[in-house]
Symmetry: C2
Subunit: 204 residues, 2 copies
DNA sequence: TATAAAATTGAGTAATCATTCAAGTTGTCA
DNA sequence: TGACAACTTGAATGATTACTCAATTTTATA
């Protein structure tokens, strides 16, 4: 004995994510959300609690989808290093996609949010740490299977890769040619592949 | 026959820059600026025209100071490549400095601003392009003096370096150990130094 | 010292902000 | 069909937003 909701929660969250990713937290007003979700303020607050709460859920969804894509890429390649390089090359095509923003939403949030949005900021930090850990794991796996020089540190490599991806996507946010971003990603991917022990052995 | 201004324009701009760099455009209110500049709204508008105008001037000042530091570093080194590496290593200490933000203000603006702040956004893009051009010039100079393999493209290298710096500073915005950022900068600097032809010649 | 010009003030504007809640609507089950 | 419970509505809230302008203060010069 209850009225069924006319809104799909996940669908609403998806729309909110789109808006927050595109415009950022501060520039997204409740009016914007009302229009995008086709919901009145009362419904939004009943469903998500607050603008902050909705934003945090959007952040989590964004990271979950991002991690899923990461894993999908890694699983498509036998070689851990090849998986990492493929992920980088995939990001090279980011300008060709129709996305709310080419920059990472976690990075946008990290740079935008201050003390007044501490909880969401901490959430973004935590999710970025999770992504970094995934990169570190992949490098550790590469090391385990002998693709990586045993003297190299997966933690440093994972950190470096995350920084490079942050940079690649921030750069892609500029109004530059798609070709430039492709070339940038290709250069980064090649640097990564040069870590392969086989290649080092060839040169030395 | 006129009243002298009690505010130094440059000093006011410096304070505004500090605030905008720290909090971003949207999160910085005119109330915040009134307090930081110790000026009433009328004075601020008489001096800078609008919040947008003040922000744009702050952006320009930020970029001018950044470019000056870049040139100072480059001029301190005979070798162009060494200058670039030194600049990267200097950024490794960014966590130890007392700055409004560890992330680049141009990047923060690029990621935060939308169509409603198109002019400031374009300004940030233009200033970033100027920085990139400076990197390209330095790589071109390295090539001219024979530090760089003639097959390498200064444009791609400059682009790559800008992306790496964007990434380094976005990463540094996270709540991570200063040592991690130092290590990251060191890794980036070493990659850069490996471009030196001497090193390649040694290995091959 | 009187005058004019520039600088500063701060109350006030209209718009927008996130949020609340009483009232209305709708579907479900007894 | 009646009644309850969940969902939705949207006007109203008070706070905050960027910004304006008439009045005031200040100072250099005539």
């Amino acid at each position: 004995m209850a009225r069924a909701s006319i809104h799909n929660r996940q669908d609403s969250l998806e729309r909110a994510l789109h808006l927050f990713w595109q415009k950022g937290f501060h520039a997204t007003s409740l009016k914007d959300l009302e229009k995008a979700l086709d919901m009145r303020p009362g419904s939004i607050y009943a469903t998500f609690g607050s603008k902050d709460g909705l934003f945090q859920e959007a952040l989590e969804r964004y990271a979950r989808l991002g991690l899923a894509e990461l894993d999908r890429t890694f699983q498509a390649y036998e070689s851990p290093l090849a998986g990492l390089a493929a992920y980088l090359r995939g990001l090279g095509g980011i300008c060709d996609k129709e996305l709310p923003s080419r920059a990472c939403m976690l990075v946008k949030s990290l740079l935008e949010l201050g003390e007044r949005e501490q909880i969401a900021r901490d959430k973004a930090e935590e999710l970025l740490a999770g992504m970094e850990a995934r990169f570190v794991d992949q490098f550790a796996e590469a090391k385990r299977v002998g693709e990586l020089d045993s003297r190299l540190d997966p933690v440093r490599l994972g950190r470096r890769l995350q920084a490079e991806i942050m940079g690649l996507r921030a750069f892609a946010q500029r109004d530059v040619d798609s070709a430039a971003v492709h070339a940038l990603a290709e250069d980064m991917a090649q640097s990564l592949e040069e870590l392969r022990v086989d290649e080092i052995a060839e040169i030395v």
